[in-house]
């Protein structure tokens, strides 16, 4: 993978390669892989033999960039920049000459992953400050400490900006940023001022403004906003545009299957379904919906009849309109592949 890092840099000189390295180790930690796998990744990323030793239980291992365990004595470098130790656990790169650009980061991530693996101390929590701040299961004091370390004020509102690692950035805002592991995969996360309501990147979600005490919810609103993006038409979604609806969406438990969504999915299964639903939700009348969808008024009337039959309620009246709108958003969230899909490459820089 060292070769791939070189390729990334050549394809996009502005790429934030460190975020990819961090995400790679985050996934290894979350995946619970063994020591050899951790060392293999580090060896593959650096292109040189990587070793570690631990005093209890006593063991040592050296692994080649091909992932094979090597016999023989360790060639622990004298250069302190190529090794790390806390006295009990040691990690080193068997590199001749000066460290390469990402060596320090890889040593740091590898040593952390090994400490987590061997559960050596409470200090080995793999989550960094941004990850701590957005986790509702972390007690508030620790979240406030993390915020203070990041220089965030408790009396100021901030927003989270989240993007997949594959997002395309035209300009990269100066902000605190990190990769946060979520159930949907690693997310590139930035904290910005509350006045920031758009970002020149795609796809990207921008959450509601919130105080530090409310960061876990604020982060969820950003993730929901990201999942509501649709390339190429809607590359950026600001949570505020959905107001209280987004609060509801952000609070739904994982795996929850709300009413009306199966019916919406069934309608969306028709070739004409998604565009019709989108037009109905966005407009105030059948005539206007027909215009937005680019079809004749009578065609839309026929479709509305089909939609009504499938839903089992009137989609354009009072509460029925609310039900359709909410079910439609939930369906979009459910089928969203924004977190795994790459943005199309148009020759612009892909960073991170």
């Amino acid at each position: 993978m060292q070769e791939l890092l070189g390729r990334l840099r050549a394809l996009d000189p502005g790429a934030v390669i460190s975020l990819r390295v961090i995400a790679c180790f985050d996934e290894l930690i979350v995946g619970g892989v063994n020591s050899q796998a951790l060392l293999s990744a580090a060896a593959s990323l650096t292109g040189c033999v990587v070793g570690f030793s631990i005093d209890s239980p006593a063991r040592a291992m050296r692994v080649s960039p091909q992932g094979e365990q090597l016999a023989g004595d360790a060639l622990v470098p004298s250069d302190v920049r190529l090794k790390w130790s806390d006295g009990a656990l040691s990690v080193w790169l068997e590199r001749e000459g000066d460290p390469h650009a990402n060596d320090a980061l890889i040593i740091e991530r590898l040593s952390l992953a090994l400490r987590v693996r061997y559960d050596r101390s409470g200090s080995a929590d793999p989550r960094r400050d941004l990850g701590l701040m957005v986790d509702a299961d972390v007690d508030e004091d620790r979240r406030f400490e993390a915020a203070a370390r990041q220089g965030l004020s408790q009396s100021t509102r901030y927003r989270f900006v989240v993007a997949p690692l594959f997002a395309t950035w035209r300009t990269h805002p100066a902000a605190r940023e990190d990769v946060i592991s979520t159930s949907s995969g690693p997310l590139h996360t930035l904290i910005v001022q509350q006045t920031t309501t758009t970002v020149e990147a795609e796809p990207v979600g921008i959450g509601q403004a919130a105080f530090v005490s409310d960061f876990p919810r604020a982060f969820r609103t950003a993730v929901v906003a990201l999942r509501l993006t649709q390339l190429p038409d809607t590359p950026v979604v600001l949570a505020d545009d959905y107001g209280g609806l987004l609060d509801v969406l952000a609070e739904l438990p994982a795996g929850y299957e709300p009413a009306d969504v199966p019916a919406v999915a069934s309608i969306a299964g028709h070739p004409w379904g998604p565009v019709t639903l989108d037009a109905l939700v966005r407009t105030a009348s059948v005539r206007e919906a027909a215009r937005v969808a680019g079809i004749h008024h009578s065609t839309m009337t026929t479709r509305v009849q089909l939609v009504t039959e499938t839903l089992g309620f009137e989609p354009l009246d009072g509460v029925g309109r609310l039900r359709l709108g909410l079910a439609y958003l939930l369906w979009r969230l459910h089928r969203s592949s924004t977190l795994t899909l790459p943005a199309p490459v148009d020759g612009n820089a892909r960073t991170s």
């Binding site: 791939l4 394809l11 790679c24 960039p65 091909q66 089928r335 795994t340």
Partner: protein, 327 residues
């Protein structure tokens, strides 16, 4: 994605191996999961091979370059790589590179194949077949078949053992390899000792369930596959007129093919095409070996060879080749 409203994206998929999932954080920047026609120029840059000297390193390998006549006599390039030193007539492997029929060159993804040269004391012939969409079927396939005919005819001169020829390919190259083996059978061409198909791209019809499971995952999804087949076949993709030499899954009779090795990941679009092809090889009385690697995305051995799963895949493949090639 394409507004057809199918539920492909929400089909439950087998989980990725954790080491490979981590690898994708790096790989994704170079090889995105979804390749559309607009992305082909990017892919041609990102999937171009690295400098030859870096690939071969300090291995004792000699390279000679040759020009041969491809389809309709057009000149195409091929390289012969063989171990340094004189020796007996050596077995020879025709290597057909990966790249979705649209990108890559004859040294793309060749690292693992270069290992075979010294490990099995064999020669490797790698051919610069012409690419789609500039060159549609039958150009890439016939270029590859011409390379087989050429190496067979030149065997004595180049020190090859004409009785021990293996055709090998990965992904799109594996689809071409299977097409070449079918044509060698049908045309009374060179006898083949083995056919090595790594995660082969075999079927333009796109009806396998696995094609619907991995939108946006890994390095080659349904959209990428449609892009590749459309580049090769144009409007003919999916119609009755497509030749089995272009899409070997369409061959009704697979009997008389050489011993065949197939490997594939469980988390890739080609999983079902590969397992189906193996089943049909057995049905038609062939010697075939199939390995499905649980949690593997497409071509994970090329992108993340250091992982446990890739090392297993490489070991199983080399073990089969050793049985086919060794004295």
């Amino acid at each position: 994605m394409n507004g057809t409203g199918d539920d492909a994206a929400s089909m439950p998929a087998p989980p990725l191996d954790p080491e490979l999932r981590a690898g994708l954080a790096i790989v994704g920047g170079v090889f995105p999961p979804t390749v559309t026609p607009e992305l082909v120029p990017f892919m041609r840059r990102s999937y171009a091979s690295m400098p030859y000297d870096q690939i071969v390193g300090d291995r004792p390998i000699i390279r000679t370059d040759h020009t041969l006549n491809g389809w309709q006599g057009a000149e195409i390039e091929a390289s012969v790589l063989r171990p340094r030193g004189e020796g007996r007539a050596r077995p020879v492997i025709l290597f057909l590179h990966s790249g979705g029929l649209m990108f890559g060159d004859r040294f793309s993804g060749i690292d693992l194949a270069v290992e075979w040269i010294t490990r099995f004391d064999c020669a490797l012939v790698t051919v610069e077949y012409r690419l789609a969409p500039e060159h549609r079927h039958p150009v890439p396939f016939e270029d590859c078949y011409a390379a087989l005919a050429w190496l067979h005819a030149a065997a004595a001169e180049l020190g090859f053992d004409a009785d021990r020829i293996v055709v090998a390919g990965a992904s799109a190259g594996a689809g071409l390899a299977a097409g070449v083996a079918l044509a060698a059978r049908d045309r009374g061409g060179p006898h083949l000792s083995g056919l090595l198909l790594d995660y082969p791209m075999l079927d333009d019809r796109g009806t396998a369930h696995s094609l619907t499971q991995f939108d946006g995952i890994g390095v080659w999804d349904r959209i990428s596959n449609e892009t590749g087949w459309t580049a090769l076949l144009g409007d003919a993709r999916g119609t009755d007129g497509v030749s089995p030499y272009a899409a070997p899954a369409r061959a009704e009779d697979l009997s008389g093919l050489p011993p065949t090795f197939i490997d594939v990941g469980s988390v890739e679009v080609f999983r079902d095409e590969a397992t189906e092809f193996a089943t049909r090889l057995w049905r038609d009385g062939n010697d075939a070996e199939l390995h499905v690697w649980a949690g593997g995305f497409h071509a994970f051995d090329i992108f993340a060879p250091h992982t446990r799963l890739a090392r297993g895949m490489i070991r199983a493949r080399n073990d089969w080749l050793e049985r086919i090639l060794s004295d």
